[in-house]
């Protein structure tokens, strides 16, 4: 068997393992990956949306707040998948599984490929489910078929970036509680400090620059433009560049951490 065949076979094995894990933890995952973003969607749309929507002015383009909100909720849904991924990786590290396979003739990339692959899969399923709920509560996108393809592509690229980043975080975190805590900035802080709920330029001066220029805003803005039929400009390219950069850096970081092992 060539090294490539072995790498593919081992990655498939690890994917199988992670899919089994996801099935065993299904109820937990449904709550954290789908229910939490749905609750955020409903809270912001029904409870806060009236006032926020009126305050948006031109940014809402005359549509209800939910149309503005969904792009950000999708990004939040993807980011919400970071916690479980980091926790799963940390459990493999602290539980000795990573050291076990490092003593075996197993392809070095397979375990992380399994974690990242299934993580992306979970994020995509969750965003599809949350999108379906959004339709139920009145989300009416104006995207063309081509726009939808672009939306799926950007969500997938962002998922890949977040999955690698959380895998790397999971590898360097010493405990499961730590893994959860380390991903909270991704799943909560960065979405709020972006254009997820309100435009970045409506924020106080101190955070405005950060919010306008951080990767989550680039992804949210591009998805929002595509979904609401607004001019997209170069936003999809900025978003994809951010995703590529995060993926590359996280991949290299994760590789180094995996080689170091549990020490």
């Amino acid at each position: 068997m060539s090294a490539l065949t072995i790498a593919a076979q081992d990655s498939a094995t690890m994917l199988w393992r992670e899919i089994k894990h996801s099935i065993r933890l299904l109820r937990l995952l449904i709550v954290s990956a789908i229910l939490v973003p749905v609750v955020m969607l409903l809270l912001f749309d029904y409870i806060l949306g009236g006032t926020i929507g009126r305050g948006l002015g031109d940014a809402a383009r005359g549509a209800p707040y939910v149309d503005y909100l969904v792009a950000g909720i999708l990004v939040m849904t993807v980011a919400g998948g970071c916690g479980p991924t980091a926790i799963n990786v940390t459990m493999d590290m602290t539980g000795g599984f990573i050291d076990r396979i490092r003593t075996m003739a197993v392809s070095r990339d397979a375990l992380l490929a399994g974690h990242v692959g299934v993580s992306v899969l979970r994020m995509l399923v969750a965003t599809a489910a949350v999108t379906a709920v959004a339709f139920l509560v009145g989300f009416r996108p104006k995207a063309s078929v081509a726009d939808w393809f672009a939306v799926v592509g950007i969500v997938a690229a962002f998922s890949l970036a977040m999955a690698w980043l959380s895998a790397a975080i999971g590898l360097v975190t010493k405990s499961v509680a730590g893994a959860n805590g380390s991903t909270l900035p991704l799943s909560f802080l960065l979405p709020f400090l972006s254009s997820t709920f309100v435009p970045a330029d409506s924020m106080p001066a101190g955070v405005r620059w950060f919010a306008a220029n951080q990767p989550f805003t680039a992804v949210v803005d591009s998805l929002r433009a595509l979904l609401t039929g607004a001019p997209v400009g170069n936003t999809p390219y900025v978003a994809l560049a951010w995703c590529a950069a995060i993926t590359l850096v996280s991949y290299l970081w994760a590789q180094a951490a995996f080689r170091r092992g549990s020490r």
């Binding site: 094995t13 000795g96 599984f97």
Partner: protein, 319 residues
């Protein structure tokens, strides 16, 4: 190394000048050891002696700072991949997958070892039987006892029929019955010709299982040999004679003119450095007219040896 074995058997592990430091702390300070194929070699020492570090280096998990090692004929640095193909490692903490059933854990190892589907299924059910895990096959390890987890862990290691197995403290934390079961499993593996490198804090375990023992303390090997050799090197070997009455004890003490007497138990202990010869000598001097109720020969146990070579009782050195 034992001249008798090195000529007749092949070498499984050969280590020279192994050193490892973490920052200021010297963990291994020049380790040399040779393990013959088919034997059980025990690394015995307290926590922090460097046992696990040796296992981590030999199983390719970490790199030594200096020194060379070959494992089953492969160079540890240049042929790490080949080394991984012939070894099996069971670490100190049971690395079982808690979300998979016992059987799925074994099948996962089978897949990672690239065994054909039929082979891995057959091997998994064989190991479940042999390790008394049949009822655990369809249950996740969350409900297992400590002994069951450890058995599943070792069964996972055996899926690929490794020729050399590293067992890092295989019985630490197990109850006495589980320990006995584990010892029997290890003896069965040896009977199949597998070479085992075992680490343990328990002198009794090394004494029971090992063909060769290296005593490790603060990164040094402080004594090495067969359990018997190590015990023989120790002062404290004696012949213990028990008598029916004080008169016999008095008479024997007068005839032999050495040793320490214990009037309460009617026992005389005579230092015995010369093995059978000095035993024969003692019996000859006693003659026929002293009634000896009971005779036993005492060799020091490994606790005595460890205490003598390190100046510390092993269990007092937890850190």
């Amino acid at each position: 190394m034992d001249a008798l074995t090195s000529h007749t058997t092949r070498t499984a592990v050969s280590v020279t000048g192994l050193r490892k430091t973490y920052g200021e702390k010297v963990v291994l300070d020049g380790i040399d050891l040779t393990i013959a194929e088919g034997e059980v070699f025990a690394l015995l020492g307290p926590n922090g002696a460097g046992k696990t570090t040796i296992v981590q280096i030999l199983s390719t998990l970490i790199q030594p700072d200096a020194g060379t090692a070959t494992v089953m004929g492969y160079d540890l640095r240049r042929e790490a991949g080949a080394v991984r193909g012939v070894i099996g490692v069971t670490g100190q903490f049971s690395a079982v997958d808690d979300l998979l059933t016992g059987e799925e854990n074994l099948l996962l190892m089978g897949r990672l070892l690239h065994l054909p589907a039929a082979v891995r299924r057959a091997r998994a059910s064989e190991l479940l039987q042999r390790f008394d895990l049949v009822e655990a096959a369809r249950v996740t390890p969350a409900t297992y006892s400590g002994g069951m987890r450890r058995r599943l862990d070792i069964a996972m290691t055996l899926m690929g029929r490794p020729r050399l197995i590293f067992l890092d403290e295989p019985t630490t934390g197990l109850d006495p019955r589980s320990r006995q079961i584990m010892w029997q499993l290890i003896r069965d593996l040896v009977a199949e010709g597998v070479t085992i490198l075992l680490t343990t804090q328990y002198l009794e375990e090394a004494d029971q299982l090992a063909d060769h023992i290296a005593m490790l303390d603060l990164g040094h090997i402080v004594a090495e040999g067969t359990p018997e050799e190590l015990k023989r090197r120790m002062p404290g070997a004696h012949i213990r004679l028990r008598f029916a009455d004080v008169a016999s004890l008095d008479k024997a003490a007068r005839e032999l003119d050495q040793g320490t007497r214990d009037d309460q138990d009617l026992v005389l202990r005579i230092p015995n450095e010369g093995g059978i010869r000095s035993l024969r000598d003692v019996l000859a001097r006693l003659g026929d007219d002293v009634a000896v109720e009971d005779l036993s020969i005492h060799t020091p146990d490994l606790d005595d040896v460890f205490f003598a070579v390190t100046g510390n009782a092993p269990k007092e050195k937890n850190q």
